[in-house]
Amino acid sequence: MIERFDPLKGERLRILDEAGEPRSDLDPGLPDTELRTLYERMARTRAADAKALKLQRQGRLGTYPPSRGHEACQVGLASAMGRDDWFFPYFRDLGMYITLGYPLADYYHLWMGNEAGLRTPDGLNIYPIAIPVGSQIPQAVGAGLAARYRKLPIAVVTTFGDGATSEGDFHEGLNFAGVFRTPNVFFCLNNQFAISVPRTRQTASATIAQKAVAYGFPGVQVDGNDVLAVFAASREALANARIGGGPTLIEAYTYRMGDHTTSDDAARYRSKEEVQEWERKDPLLRFRHYLGKKGLWDEAYEKSVQDEATAFVEDAVAEAEARPVATLEDIFAYTYAVTPPDLAAQLADLKAFAGEGRR
């Protein structure tokens, strides 16, 4: 399916139009329960995101990059992944984490600035969030190389923004992937901004998908607010990767509905009208229309979904806030496999001044 949409011809893969009407030749044909699962994951993601913003305003959580508008990208991609696939995230991936089963309490913990939330639970193939933009991309390729070397039938996914495509690491990573035909799926959330810099000032290529031409593998642009399109493209790219078909670049065309982070004020650099226009393309709304047409959505269902999402989120907050802050020992414990004497001495010195607050 991916090959039918050539970014050089300006083609974009979309299954649902804004009214939720599907293109039947492309519909991935998911069973009803799975369709509802997609919706529920998106709803959870939105609820968890809204809660993080609220916690931040209350001083209970640190600087936070909201995900609103990206639910279809994140849930569509993660839902297509298998348990054995690997994921190399960036910093705006809430729906990925929720869908892949990362405990939300741990995720909140991290953004609360507590070391205790840093450890990916065993059994989850999720690398830690990369804050330096683009730096996770060559790492994902290395994991792909390792998978190939070990003959594992898995795919390795990495996500990043439109801004990240300007970094050298994007280029070096994708070039490696092309040369070694690694089982990677490169998923760009093109949300039109890198903080204040609009996509058109980020790169002069008409699409991001077409950058794959430079690396000798396919690239496709999908409607990032259409969860079915994201799911279908991801599923195909992942399957292709797993069977040794090489990497794919997916550009999800979407919009960052919120500020860049809670420290940002997007009103400084973009118009209300633009934001409003994208409100109409809301991925949840669109999918709700689709489910409605299929008789899978009504008000009662919506209420149950929202209630469940609220409970899910509140439980996570309670759990995260109940955990103590990391101890000094914990902060010093993971610099080396075996802590050298110097460092042990520093810890001992510091404990002489222990307690809360800067000393």
Binding site: G62, T63, F91, L110, M112, G113, N114, E115, L118, I131, P132, V133, G134, G163, A164, S166, E167, G168, D169, A194, I195, S196, V197, R201, Q202, T203, S263, D264, R268, Y269, V325, A326, L328, I331, F332, T335, D342, L343, Q346, L347, L350, A352, F353, A354, E356, G357, R358, R359
Partner: protein, 324 residues
């Protein structure tokens, strides 16, 4: 006018750009957005997109492009959004910025001033609290500057921009809005390569810079109450270092304490301690002490405060020093 450090920096940039149209400000979000700390606020409207350039998200590209601008006589002032994101540009800085004057026997110089927020204070994510100044202090050809007050920030930034050498100008995020000060309206230079004795004392010398200067002051005030007179040397230019001012002070007091945010091992404190040992050994009444960040990755915000030196740890060191 009474202003914060970030306002002083903003004013310095505006005045220098006004004076000299070879000066170009560039970096991520420095234009329409005015910089994530608002250090470049208003410059885009005033000087336009050709002089205040929002760059693509690419640090090596930004510094590389800045270098190329100098070939045609411009004087770029690139901003790296946080010091933790300077590493992708490390090759351009070490291999080219620092060396081009030498490589061309002076035909090409690189009079750029690379500004970047530095050190702890914003309590943001990992990588937003870096103080790796020693990485740059060991690179011949670079000048490394850290202001500790609004007044110095303006004067040192103007001096840096006017300098024909490349300057790494590190702005302590903690101090951006911590303190206001009366800053002269007209442009002025605070000379580079000159440390300042910002507090006099006869019993010991504290060497500090940036956000550690106020910390040292607090500790020194507390020590005063205990009858100990601490002299504070604010290094200001970290490299090339004003060793003379340090040595003069230590020869007077006989005791030395260095305070910095960076990890201890191979921090700039090591060089200062080594210098004192080389040049003032016979004046020393006791070992030179270092109060520093720990030899670990900066912890996340909730634990950040436990990592950096605060007045209590500095005071503890003062007391220990005074025991000998």
């Amino acid at each position: 006018m009474i202003m914060t450090m970030v306002q002083a920096i903003n004013q310095a940039l505006a005045q220098e750009m006004e004076r000299d149209d070879r000066i170009i400000v560039l970096g991520e979000d420095v234009g329409r957005n005015g910089g994530v700390f608002r250090a470049t606020e208003g410059l885009f409207d005033r000087f336009g997109p050709d002089r205040v350039m929002d760059t693509p998200l690419a640090e090596s590209g930004t510094i590389g492009a800045s270098i190329g601008m100098t070939a045609l006589g411009l004087r770029p002032v690139p901003e790296i959004q946080f010091m933790g994101f300077i590493y992708p540009a490390f090759n351009q800085i070490v291999s080219h910025v620092a060396r081009l004057r030498n490589r061309t026997r002076g035909r090409f110089t690189v009079p750029l001033t690379l500004r970047t927020p530095y050190g702890a204070g914003v309590k943001a994510l990992e990588h937003h609290s870096e103080s790796t100044e020693a990485l740059f202090c060991q690179i011949p050809g670079l000048t490394v500057v850290v202001p500790s007050s609004p007044y110095d920030a303006k004067g040192l930034l103007i001096a840096s921009i006017r300098s024909d050498d490349p300057v790494i100008f590190l702005e302590p995020t903690k101090l951006y809005r911590a303190e206001k000060q009366d800053v002269p309206e007209e442009p002025y230079e605070v000379p580079l390569r000159l440390a300042a004795v910002v507090r006099e004392g006869k019993d010991l010398t504290i060497v500090a810079w940036g956000a550690m200067v106020p910390v040292a002051r607090q500790a020194a005030d507390a020590a005063q109450a205990e009858g100990v007179g601490a002299e504070i040397v604010d290094l200001r230019t970290l490299s090339p270092m004003d060793r003379e001012t340090i040595i003069t002070s230590v020869k007077k007091t006989g005791r030395a304490l260095i305070v910095h945010e960076a990890p201890k091992t191979c921090g700039l404190g090591a060089e200062i301690a080594a210098t004192i040992g080389e040049s003032a050994l016979l004046s020393l009444l006791g070992p030179v002490m270092r109060v520093t960040g720990q030899d670990i990755t900066v912890p996340l915000p909730k634990s950040e405060d436990r990592y950096y030196p605060g007045p209590e740890r500095v005071l503890g060191a003062i007391r220990k020093l005074m025991e000998v």
